[in-house]
């Protein structure tokens, strides 16, 4: 850029060296997740001929869409502000139960049901966010409390039993199993959420401010920005997207169940972190988060294809997350 004094003229040599170091770290940050993703795809296709088939790929995508995928966007926003939201799995369960409840018992239409379910998820996020943003309670503890409350509410509303969507919920089950252009509709919805999330994060004031808050909240506050409003908003978004995940789950299975999303928060956090986001806030991107979610999906898929028993899968999953993290953070720490 011509209007700035060139680096060669700068008398601050150590500074320009740091700049070089940053570029190296940036490179690893940007492509580390992609590397893990590609390695997994290659390994999986060598392992099993069944992996790189259209049916299997669509299956992975559908699982990601109704699992960690959509929630990962909300979680990314929360983590960018240096927070954490442990309540997403429970809110998804509440969303699933409410989907069944509103369309079969209350008899609402698909639009009304969807609206109310998302509103409920957002309300849960609003409560968490209000305590975190305005009363400055730790997000870990506050969202842990919301995790218990939302799960409890889903049990109360459903009386602990699955609510079958039946004919009134046909619109949902059609969406759950329907395709557009050969792509499952929930997967299209997931991509849409990621695209919107990416636009918000990169091209709007909101995205810029939440990322800056995670890097240095006090500097942002001292620039005259109403930090609490933004912090509140990320929890509302996370809650709303968790409710959407609940709707998708009901749509796929045809029941509203309080057992949806047990331990999902861990998968969601793992997806975001494998995506290279920093739990210390301020760093992370949408594309890498999507790759992180896909990595999680592929790992589960490989183990299914390889016939690893369900109970064993959890142990391997944990081990593989550690390896993925080592690749991410281990390579990142090379710069120091």
């Amino acid at each position: 850029m011509t209007f700035l004094t060139s680096k060669a003229e700068s008398n601050a040599k150590p500074a320009s060296e740091t700049a070089g170091g940053f570029r190296f770290a940036d490179y690893l940050q940007r492509f580390g997740t992609l590397g893990i993703f590609l390695v997994l795809v290659v390994v999986a296709s060598l392992w099993s001929d069944a992996f790189l088939t259209k049916i299997n790929i669509l299956n992975v995508l559908r699982q990601v869409a109704s699992g960690a995928g959509i929630m990962a966007v909300g979680m990314l926003f929360v983590i960018l502000t240096r927070g954490i939201d442990l309540s997403v799995g429970s809110i998804a369960a509440l969303g699933s139960v409410l989907t069944g409840y509103f369309c079969t018992i209350s008899g609402f239409g698909i639009a009304m049901t969807t609206f109310l379910v998302i509103l409920s998820g957002a309300a849960c996020g609003l409560v968490t966010g209000a305590f975190v943003a305005y009363l400055r309670l730790p997000s870990f503890v506050m969202s842990l409390a919301m995790m218990a409350v939302a799960r409890g509410l889903s049990l109360i509303i459903s009386d602990g039993r699955p609510i079958t969507l039946g004919d009134q919920g046909a619109a949902f089950t059609n969406f759950g199993s329907g395709h557009w252009f050969g792509m499952p509709q929930p997967v299209i919805l997931m991509f849409a959420v990621f695209i919107v999330g990416g636009i918000v994060l990169n091209f709007t004031r909101f995205g810029r401010v939440i990322t800056a808050i995670g890097s240095n909240e006090e500097a942002v506050r001292l620039s005259g920005i109403a930090v609490p409003r933004y912090v509140l908003a990320v929890y509302v978004i996370s809650g709303a997207l968790a409710a959407v995940a609940g709707i998708i789950s009901s749509s796929r299975t045809g029941v509203g169940s309080s057992q949806v999303g047990v331990a999902a928060e861990l998968n969601v956090i793992a997806a975001v972190v494998i995506g290279g986001a920093s739990l210390m806030g301020g760093r992370g991107g949408v594309i890498n988060t999507l790759l992180g979610a896909l990595v999680m999906g592929i790992i589960a898929n490989i183990m299914n294809l390889a016939g690893v028993p369900g109970y064993h899968q959890q142990v391997y999953m944990g081990a593989i997350i550690v390896v993925a993290m080592l690749l991410q953070y281990g390579s990142g720490s090379l710069k120091t």
Binding site: M1, N11, A12, F203, T204, R205, L222, S223, G224, A226
Partner: protein, 503 residues
Amino acid sequence: MTELAKLVAISKSFGGVRALVEADFDVKAGEVHALLGENGAGKSTLMRVLSGEMIPNDGEIHLGGERVELRDPRDARARGIAVIHQELALAPDLSVAENIFLGELPGVIGWKDLNRRARQLIERLGFDIDPKRIVGSLAVAHQQIVEIAKALSRDVRIIVFDEPTAVLSTQDAERLHEIIKGLRANGVGVVYISHRLEEVFRISDRVTVMKDGQVVGTVATRDVTIDKVIRMMVGRSLAAMFPDKGERKIGAVRLEASKLNAGRMVRDVSFSLRAGEVVGLGGLVGSGRTEVARAIFGADPLDSGTILLDGKPLHARSPRDAVKAGIGLVPEDRKQHGVVLDKPIRINVTMARLAEVVNGLGFLKSAKESGLVGDLARSLKLKAESIDAPVSSLSGGNQQKVVLAKWFHAGGDVIILDEPTRGVDVGAKSEIYGLVNKLAEANKAVLVISSEHQELFGLCDRVLVMGEGELRGELRPESYSEENLLSMAMTGRLTETHEGMPS
């Protein structure tokens, strides 16, 4: 009197900075030896060497006539050297007795005995504090007593007090002085660091003055006057690196603060800033300068007082309110408070007025932003690869320019700069002075807080002087001198030769 400790030709460097240069210092039994100097003169570093917290690069330490090496604070403590730090080193959640005997608690604690011994120690100091009380619940003065009791719990020959009265009321300070006199009578050597010259003259036997890491001299207190000591503390002259102030066109009052109170460090502070004027806020570190700035900016709550901005009352409950009203703050701690270090210059510069680069839907107008930030970068002579480079890749001076650019972009009418040239090299300093001038030329009211007195004199149309949370007075250019500033900060009056000058 026997010599307890003697430091000979102690030198200590941090990187390229020489914090101590062949400093000599000694402590005798039964004396109070005051250690004076401006902030950064090397007093604390020298005491860290004595207490084993820091190992000098060069020099000798003699204790009781014998040459020793102090490897760590435990080593020094075992030899009877204790330090009462300004920031008390107590565990706030433990009881008084636990704190006093921390570090030598037995595996199985006999509470009765422990509490009894703690009570005895505290009573010896003339206080009555329940040993079972949790330390965090005590007043600061009593916490300090606990700290002293802790020092006395073991055989102690030298006690260093690092600005002990800075946090105390006058009455508590008197009681502390009684304790110090008692220690002296018992043959303990007391080192006393304080910025309150009057109390130093009241209780000390000898005074050592430090400056720029060197010992200027050690004198018997009764042989000198306060003014002489102040002259020993100052006397450096900076190169003429200040731009010509020119004829500043000073206009109407922009900001009027009256009777501001905020916490302990801002007490009844009143002053006004006029358009096109650069006003300095001087005084020692910890005198409440930063707190005044933060209170006006809404970063800390104001207990009472009124602020008028262009004649209209301002109630800034948050920095957001202040920024909206047109106030900008360049904070003291650049990396923690001034910039978002790992984010690009572009993001930092536009943060205080995003509305300018955002459309109605909240989308960023990237091209417009690039243009604005680029223009500012050029006019501030920012040295960077591009406006998308992270601020962390810049030198200290250029980081500071990013903070200044932020407030240029925000376009407020009142700018407060807190230590604007800290950690900035000489060349960039001069450029920043030029930018301060530019702010004044643009008819803004500028308040500059600085510990570098020459900086205040070089930049400001007048200098307000603070001491212990109060505004002690105002210096006009005709009475600008370090002696006057220090004297006003410490005693509230000018040095004798200038008595009667306008204030």
